[in-house]
């Protein structure tokens, strides 16, 4: 049941329209700036936590702070600073126990995917964590499931080709999600290449 409010409404003069829209916009801007500030700390902390959780998941036990010793490298031919590969050395005491590489692939179905690939000191994969992906729910998103990821554990390029079986590799792709599977392999491949670029902090 609508009430009759037409006669009380502010007339649509030019001045009224400009003033009302300006005031509404100003108040909205204030509310947004306030919310942005209030949520800033949890949002940044959330991102940092995500990185730490991923590091713990993909590396053998360590007791240093890999994110404080991180090294940034760029893939060959990559000019975009948004696509930095980050290498995290993990140590137990003074010994290097492994290295995690934050790698990406632009060949995904949706937006570029980001993986955290953990290597032990023999350059074998310990585990992989999916940091960011925007693949099709129920299909490409399965790349984050153990069922797909676990086949990469303990593997190295000499004995295990990081390409899907369709491309003459050894990787079992996700059914109906070949593109996502290929992108995953691409990111792992890129992580391997980055290992060789890490000066000193890399695995020798």
């Amino acid at each position: 049941m609508a009430e009759e409010t037409k006669k009380k409404k502010l007339p649509s003069t030019f001045a009224n329209m400009v003033i009302v829209l300006t005031v509404i916009s100003l108040i909205s801007a204030l509310a947004l700036a306030f919310t942005f500030k209030m949520t800033e700390v949890p949002r940044i902390e959330g991102k940092r936590q995500k990185t730490i959780t991923a590091l713990r998941e993909v590396l053998p036990e360590f007791d240093n702070k890999p994110d404080e010793e991180m090294i940034e490298v760029m893939d060959d031919g990559e000019k975009d600073p948004a696509f930095k590969i980050i290498i995290y050395p993990a140590r137990k005491g003074s010994e290097l126990v492994g290295v995690a590489v934050k790698s990406y692939s632009k060949k995904a179905f949706g937006e570029p995917i980001w993986l955290m690939v953990g290597f032990d000191k023999n350059k074998k994969i310990v585990n992989i964590s999916v940091l960011e992906q925007k693949e099709t729910p129920g299909l490409g998103t399965k790349m984050a499931d153990a069922q797909f990821k676990d086949q990469f554990k303990d593997k190295e390029p000499q004995t295990f080709k990081f390409k899907v079986k369709k491309d003459q590799g050894n990787v079992d792709a996700i059914s109906a999600a070949t593109i996502s599977s290929r992108a995953f392999c691409d990111a792992v491949d890129r992580a391997y290449r980055a290992l060789d670029k890490a000066p000193g902090g890399g695995v020798q």
Binding site: L10, M17, V20, I24, L32, T35, T39, R43, L139, Q147
Partner: protein
């Protein structure tokens, strides 16, 4: 106006998704799992209630000719607040819903209720309308999402009912399956309505 009657209106009689046919885009896109449906529905409900209240409060000072831009600014403001809050406090859900949170701004339900109800009714009534319409949307999404998740993934809210490698009807998690499910649901609702009256 009893709350029970309003609830019935929002959930069934004038369900925004299945009867008024509003908000089709996010319904089809985000409903591939039950939990995504809940998340999206609740986020949209909060926005709907907030924007309905603000617009009802301002209805006498917004000149008629600029009401649409004014509504959009208010709605966009609320959605951005929700987006930032979700990123800060519910990061997994935020990542799962992704781009569809900002798309709540153009969810026809929000603008539709602003224009059809909040701009013409009291704050109290508009608040209730926002709540029941939002719940109706959420219910439709959860129903939708559960069907699609069950047929397409063999699970509901993540709990699997079939073996790990059982073959499921993948079509239902993809866009064509969304359209098919929606078509069937609307047909069922239409049939039920015909019977009643």
């Amino acid at each position: 106006m009893s709350f029970r009657k309003e609830l019935f209106r929002g959930l069934i009689k004038e369900n925004p998704t299945l009867v008024l046919l509003l908000g089709m885009c996010p319904t089809l896109a985000v409903s591939s799992s039950a939990i995504n449906g809940v998340g999206m529905g609740l986020a949209a409900t909060v926005v709907l209630m907030g924007s309905n209240v603000v617009i009802a409060l301002l209805k006498d000072i917004i000149p008629d000719k600029v009401r649409i831009p004014a509504f959009i600014v208010v709605i966009a403001c609320f959605v951005t607040i929700i987006d930032l809050s979700m990123e800060a406090f519910t990061p997994e859900l935020h990542a799962a819903l992704g781009i569809f949170i900002p798309l709540i701004v153009v969810n026809c339900i929000i603008l539709g209720r602003a224009e059809a109800y909040a701009s013409k009714n009291s704050v109290g009534k508009s608040f209730i309308d926002g709540l029941v319409m939002g719940l109706g949307f959420t219910m439709a999404l959860v129903l939708f999402g559960s069907i699609r998740e069950f047929l397409g993934n063999g699970s509901v809210f993540g709990s699997k009912f079939v073996a790990e490698d059982a073959s499921t009807i993948l079509l239902f998690i993809l866009p064509p399956g969304a359209f098919i499910t929606l078509g069937f649901l609307i047909a069922v609702v239409n049939r039920l309505q015909k019977k009643k009256g």
